[in-house]
């Protein structure tokens, strides 16, 4: 191109450039994929501005077999709870039920049934073995918008004083519990 043959070092550098770029891209992808399996990276995650804010104002009625709750109930808490948005029509919610059932002894879980018929939500909870200490019904899904929920399942870790400390829009997994939820919940306990 420039009329002068490229010097051997320059030629070697030019040959290495695509390899370096490909290597960089490879490392990037590898980090994303390993983050996805570890649960530290979620490409679908919407960075909820709710994090480290008090829970939004809401008051939701009972959903059988549980008792409903409001923002006041969460703000009055002295120890952490997990708030889990679910629905009987949601397949990933079915998948996370055994995990939630295994967790309920260590951390109280409060459920909110999202846009669900009362009888369907009741049937779902009974079939799943009810991991919830309390269950509220968000029938029109408007409280969910105040929480910044974009779909079910979505889960929030609420610290003392009703402050949202952690959030995920993916189904809860064992790894999430051991790596993130329990260490954080334990640090929030009085």
């Amino acid at each position: 191109m420039s009329g002068q043959p490229a010097s051997p070092t320059r030629r070697r550098l030019l040959m290495a450039a695509p390899l370096v770029v490909a290597g960089g891209v490879g490392v990037g992808f590898w980090r994303m994929l390993s983050g996805m399996t570890k649960g530290s990276f979620d490409p679908h995650d919407i960075h909820a501005p709710a994090l480290n804010r008090p829970v939004p104002d809401f008051a939701l009625p009972d959903q059988a077999p549980g008792q409903g709750f409001s923002a006041q109930d969460l703000r009055a808490l002295k120890s952490p709870v997990l708030v889990n948005y679910f629905a009987s029509w949601c397949i990933p919610c079915v998948a996370e039920m055994p995990v939630l059932n295994a967790l309920k002894e260590r951390l109280p879980i409060w459920g909110i049934a999202y846009k669900d018929k009362p009888e369907h939500a009741l049937g779902f909870v009974q079939r799943a073995g009810n991991p919830y200490a309390r269950i509220a019904a968000d029938r029109d899904g408007l409280a969910a918008i105040d929480w910044g929920v974009s779909g079910v399942p979505e889960t929030f870790l609420i610290g003392p004083g009703g402050v949202i400390r952690w959030h995920t829009a993916s189904p809860i997994t064992e790894t999430m519990i051991t790596n993130t939820i329990m260490p954080l919940a334990d640090s929030l306990k009085p």
């Binding site: 191109m1 709710a50 918008i145 974009s150 779909g151």
Partner: protein
Amino acid sequence: MKTHSLRHYGVIALLACLLFAPFVAMAVDDPSEMLPDPAQEQRAEAIGSQLRCLVCQNESIEDSSADLARDLRHVVREHVARGESNRQIMDWMVNRYGNFIRLKPPLTIGTLLLWVMPLLALCIGTGVAWWTFRRPRTVTPTPLTDEERRRLSDLTETR
């Protein structure tokens, strides 16, 4: 006679389809969703077309038929009917879903690269073009080494 009336029905059905086509295209599934005041409805549509559907992620809530999009359309219309400004409604949405809900990202530190990229690309492109097409420097070739000169004379002699 019978076929005649059937054809009539066909024409009426076609007209009905054409009549309701605009509503279908806007994904406002139900005309009852719309505000009675056309000016307000137009404002609500303008706001909605700037809001990302969190379910389909690449569609606006006006275009999406997801449940959440319908709820958000409803919320936008409620706020518009209450007389809130576009800015207030946008802030309300961003407060809940973050800047991700805005289809047009605002200029912040995090989006700076995104916004200046066209300018940056133009500068880089100009730089590369200038570097490539500049007049080739007249370079004096490096003189032959003694070894090379000897080889050359060997070759020319055998010829």
